[in-house]
């Protein structure tokens, strides 16, 4: 469901900075359904990639084979990202706060962390330079606390947060509120998965479940080994 909802966020012809995992599934689903001209750019340097297998890592060799261009990482960050050529960027993270700021660095104090996480990678600059940021993250009060311990990537450009129960959007003050619910989910379930008092749009959208065609692509073509899909 998360992959299908994320795929529907992408318009044909858009230039997308793709991360590994669900964002990758979503982009490749969109490319095989409503957005055949989606341009997938991976931070490893593959531009216009058409991976024939689900990449386990962001630097998978299948991203190179048959792509439009392969460039060094200095070019990826300077000529594509900082140049403003990326329309959509996907981010995930251990913690997301009420303003869409993301922490992928540490839980606890930076010098003496309780849990040391991987760090920024390209997330800090993707958050600042992609025109529109989509976050994909599962709801839980630990993952969505009111305050996060470290801001790895700032939330100003976040347009949607795609969770496992519904979709959040920033309101006029930039605070995330509930905007849409998945089939069979009540608003209270989403609110229970968030560590602050979650507001809601006056009218909530009800999102359609994945179509049989979307499910077939996801389960049989894109992720047959269930690396990222649960069921």
């Amino acid at each position: 469901m998360m992959a299908a909802v994320a795929a529907r966020e992408l318009a044909d012809g858009e230039v997308v900075f793709v991360g590994i995992g669900l964002p990758n599934l979503a982009c490749n689903l969109a490319r095989r359904t409503h957005a055949p001209n989606l341009v997938l750019i991976y931070e490893s340097g593959a531009v216009g990639a058409t991976p024939s297998r689900l990449p386990v890592s962001i630097g998978d060799p299948a991203l190179v084979t048959g792509s439009l261009m392969v460039c060094g990482m200095a070019d990826v960050f300077q000529l594509f990202l900082q140049n403003g050529r990326i329309e959509v960027g996907f981010l995930g993270g251990a913690q997301v706060d009420r303003h869409g700021n993301i922490n992928t660095t540490v839980i606890g104090d930076y010098q003496r962390p309780n849990v040391r996480l991987p760090g920024s990678g390209g997330a800090a600059e993707i958050a600042l330079h992609a025109q529109r940021i989509l976050i994909i993250a599962k709801l839980s009060p630990r993952a969505f606390p009111a305050r996060i311990d470290f801001v790895t990537s700032p939330g100003q450009r976040v347009k949607r947060v795609i969770t496992d129960k519904g979709v959040l959007e920033p309101d006029e003050q930039g605070e995330l509120v509930l905007a849409a619910l998945y089939p069979g989910v009540e608003a209270a379930e989403v609110k229970a998965g968030v560590g602050w008092k979650l507001g809601a749009r006056p009218r909530l959208d009800r999102l359609d479940p994945p179509t049989p065609a979307e499910l077939q692509l996801l389960r049989e073509v894109l992720d047959p080994k269930r690396l990222h899909l649960k069921s």
């Binding site: 590994i20 995992g21 931070e43 490893s44 340097g45 593959a46 990449p55 386990v56 890592s57 962001i58 630097g59 998978d60 060799p61 991203l63 190179v64 084979t65 048959g66 392969v70 460039c71 060094g72 990482m73 200095a74 960050f77 300077q78 990202l81 900082q82 700021n101 660095t105 930076y110 003496r112 962390p113 849990v115 040391r116 996480l117 991987p118 760090g119 920024s120 990678g121 390209g122 997330a123 800090a124 600059e125 600042l128 330079h129 470290f150 801001v151 790895t152 990537s153 700032p154 100003q156």
Partner: protein
């Protein structure tokens, strides 16, 4: 030159060492030789420390790590790294990917720093005081800066080079060119040594020229479990398996005993694992080639 001689001659205790390659072309063969020769107090720099620096940290080679993303890609954590950081025994200096790329770019151009639009609204400058800012003398805009990174030695794995060190790479290019040009010494490790004529037949593919290369080492499969486009695939099973190996100190030590200290070089490493070649050998996908005539 043999890997043993190249490391003995060009990698010294206390050096700032870079083994680059973004997922692709990571020289595990060189990392293992550095472990075998028991180098100490190294400052290890890489965008993604990956399994190779996790192994070098576990083996006690590292005093400090400079990095931008420290995980096992697509799998989870680097446990030796995490243990060392959470215990406070490894000094760290942390950037984002763009920040690390910019540091190599400054080093390669022999400038003291590089400017980039980055870090506003993030806590990274608070965590790392070496991330600073400068006012643009033309527009008045505040720009982030990162200091040049000039390693003592950079080690790059590649598909092929000639005996002089003219090195050709295809597939993902990472930041190897900038890292090599920024470095005082450069060791190139290749799948295949080729005649200079092969290099001259396709000069656009040369990423690193012989003029900056200190040593050329031939080590087929020297990037495993990383990969070399057109030669062998990434060993994703090994990356997944590293989670269980690295989670326990004892398990990790016995891995190093068997596959690093227990072999002399890459040839013996591969002989221990006869089925790797069959499982990971690359298929054929040739390019059309171009006309360099005039």
């Amino acid at each position: 030159m043999s890997m043993r001689d190249a490391v003995a001659r060009y990698v010294r205790d206390g050096d700032v060492v870079v083994i680059e390659g973004f997922t692709h072309l990571i020289s595990f063969a060189a990392g293992h030789e550095i472990i075998r020769q028991r180098r100490r107090d190294l400052t290890l720099c890489r965008l993604t420390p990956d399994l190779i620096y996790d192994q070098m940290i576990a083996a006690g080679c590292a005093r400090k790590l400079v990095f931008s993303w420290a995980g096992n890609p697509g799998v989870g954590s680097l446990h030796a790294f995490r243990r060392a950081v959470e215990a406070g025994t490894l000094e760290i200096e942390e950037y984002s990917h763009f920040g690390m790329v910019a540091r190599f770019a400054a080093g390669a151009a022999r400038l003291p720093f590089w400017t980039l639009r980055d870090y506003s609204g993030t806590d990274l400058p608070r965590a790392n005081p070496r991330i600073k800012s400068v006012t643009c003398p033309y527009t008045g805009e505040a720009l982030a800066t990162v200091p040049a990174l000039n390693p003592d030695v950079t080690i790059v794995h590649a598909q092929r080079a000639d005996a002089q060190g003219n090195t050709q790479i295809w597939g993902l290019l990472g930041v190897q060119k900038e890292a090599a040009f920024a470095s005082e010494r450069v060791i190139v490790v290749v799948e295949e040594l080729v005649d200079e004529r092969v290099i001259r037949s396709d000069p656009n593919r040369t990423l690193i020229p012989a003029v900056i290369v200190s040593a050329v080492v031939v080590a087929p499969w020297g990037a495993h479990p990383s990969y070399a486009q057109g030669h062998y695939d990434r060993d994703n099973d090994f990356y997944v398996g590293w989670e269980a190996i690295s989670r326990e100190r004892a398990e990790l030590s016995s891995y190093l005993d068997e596959f690093v200290y227990g072999v002399q070089d890459r040839v013996e490493y591969m002989e221990k694992q006869p089925r790797l070649m069959e499982r990971l050998k690359a298929g054929e996908q040739r390019c059309e080639g171009v006309n360099y005539g005039y």
